[in-house]
Amino acid sequence: MATVTLDRLGKRYAGGGAPAVQDVTFEVAHGEFFVLLGPSGCGKSTTLRMIAGLEAITEGTLAIDGKRMNEVPARDRDIAMVFQSYALYPHMSVYDNMAFGLRRRAMPKAEIDRRVRVAAAILGLEPFLGRRPHALSGGQRQRVAVGRAIVRDPKVFLFDEPLSNLDAALRASTRQELIRLHRRLGATMIYVTHDQVEAMTMGDRICIMDHGRVAQIGAPLDVYRRPATTFVAGFLGSPPMNLLPATVADGRVRLGEATLTLPARVPEGPVTLGVRPEDLVPVPEGPLRGEVVAVEPLGAETILSLRLPGVERELMLRAGRSAPAGLGERIALVAPHDAIHLFDAATGCRLT
């Protein structure tokens, strides 16, 4: 168990151009499950690899348990990593794959054997210990990759999109397994993903990254409920939060031809108004009126797209099993006061 502290960590690749990672600051607590979330290319892997010692740190400091790690080679950081490709050694059996990292540490054979067997038992890998990776299914390979990390009993576990090569069903069950594993080991884990469901369900806290910078850090539901920027608002949720251009004037918000009361005091001028599709409630008579332009029945819920008069972007609405209105019909909506989010139109930062 350990704390991991990043202080204005940055990475600039030799090729030049914009830094891949910039000013990343956070502290992961003992035993915390910390998720790095963001779209492709936002610098999640780079950040993780700097923590692992696979990538040189060009700016800022990294500390594990308060000790500066910038110059410490990967092997001396006492971390373990699970790769997206699993990176299993193809020429070694499952047993040897797990034992490989222990052999280098001059550990007694009996202890190596004990650890491998314990890890195999936890992950249900006992029947496969003698097999080569190519003779395993994707899910089994993934568990070997996790097992290889467990046997090391490291201070920090690092995961780089470990589930993205699994099919949907397996991904859901493995997610649960990893959560249980985290509880059982109580270890510090840093987990990279671009999948918001993984982030929401697994993380104690999530850190959302955008273009190499931290956009927001917080508990999953806090981040979901109070996104700090339009980027975070638009990234989380599916369908994501509706973000519509609006204007604040006279203590009210004008959205196209509709007018809403202000949820809080904000300066006058153009804003971006955010409202989650599930926060919109159809009512017989309400301030927001629009025409239904698309209906997507998904079984458990129905997604409607509305066009509001005077608003260019469509508004998404999440309704129950049956659609409250058909295609081409007009419908009125309200949103609770606390479900209206206002962001600065220029910077995208939260105003309320």
Partner: protein, 274 residues
């Protein structure tokens, strides 16, 4: 309809003729190797009446083939071991690391594959003489390793480049140095390509003649191709015995080929397919 049949027949004819043309000479030598010279002179294209396998024993002990064969084995196997290790290390470094001059080194090695051997053979003769390695098996071994180095690096580099970088990162996190990672991960993972170059180099060096004829003088250090050439010079008319000697050189190649035909074809054609 008849056109089809005719075309088919023409194709079959071409195939049969070429097969006879390609294989005939070997089969002929094989028959001669089991017959005495006088039997051969009486009927050059007859099959052996009695299969005289004892001729192989005679050639082996009486004509120095045991020495030639041992020399060939020694020189070829050591050279292949050296060139595999040295070449794999270099190929790994070229495939994996970015450093100034990386592509230049690669280009240099690549162009050396087509180097005419005459440009080095005279100077190698001088150099080995100066080092006291002229007319030694060690000298020939080192030259052989150097001669096969470019092709070895060329074939292995393209294979090493295809090993995913994650594997090396995993080994690094597992605590292994670059050196240990190479021997414990990269080298075993590249085994299919290593096997290809080992077999290919073995065959090519087994057949090598020019460097051997320049760098070896003493009969006791001759390799098989030199031995055969000498035997033919000495016993020009003893066709039966020469054929036996030829078979001693051919059989190991055919055996290796029979077992590893696909790998060998792969290696030989590696440069051409690109």
């Amino acid at each position: 309809m008849w056109g089809r049949v005719l075309a088919r027949a023409a194709v079959m004819l071409v195939i049969v003729l070429w097969t006879m043309f390609a294989a005939g000479p070997f089969l002929w030598v094989a028959t001669i190797s089991l017959r005495t010279t006088s039997e051969f002179m009486a009927a050059p294209y007859a099959l052996p009446e009695t299969w005289r396998f004892d001729k192989f024993a005679t050639a082996w002990t009486g004509s120095g083939y045991d020495t030639y064969f041992t020399n060939s084995i020694l020189v070829v196997f050591s050279a292949v071991a050296i060139v595999t290790a040295v070449g794999a290390m270099a190929a790994h470094a070229l495939a994996r690391y970015r450093f100034p001059g990386n592509r230049l080194v690669y280009l240099l090695i690549f162009s050396t594959i087509v180097l005419p051997p005459q440009i080095t053979v005279i100077a190698l003769f001088q150099t080995l003489a100066k080092l006291g390695l002229y007319d030694t098996r060690v000298g020939l071994t080192l030259v052989y390793a150097a001669v096969q180095l470019p092709l070895t690096v060329y074939i292995l580099e393209s294979f090493f480049a295809r090993i995913p970088a994650d594997l090396f990162d995993a080994a690094r996190i597992d605590g292994y140095s670059e050196w240990a990672t190479f021997w414990k991960v990269a080298f075993p993972v590249a085994m299919p390509a290593i096997a290809t170059v080992v077999i290919l180099n073995t065959i090519l060096l087994w057949n090598e003649f020019l460097y051997a004829v320049v760098l070896i003088a003493d009969d006791a250090r001759r390799t098989l191709p030199l031995g055969i050439q000498k035997f033919m010079g000495d016993q020009l008319e003893d066709y039966g015995m020469i054929a036996t000697g030829l078979m001693i050189a051919i059989v190991p190649v055919v055996l290796i080929y029979a077992i590893f035909s696909e790998k060998l074809i792969q290696g030989m054609t590696a440069g051409a397919v690109k």
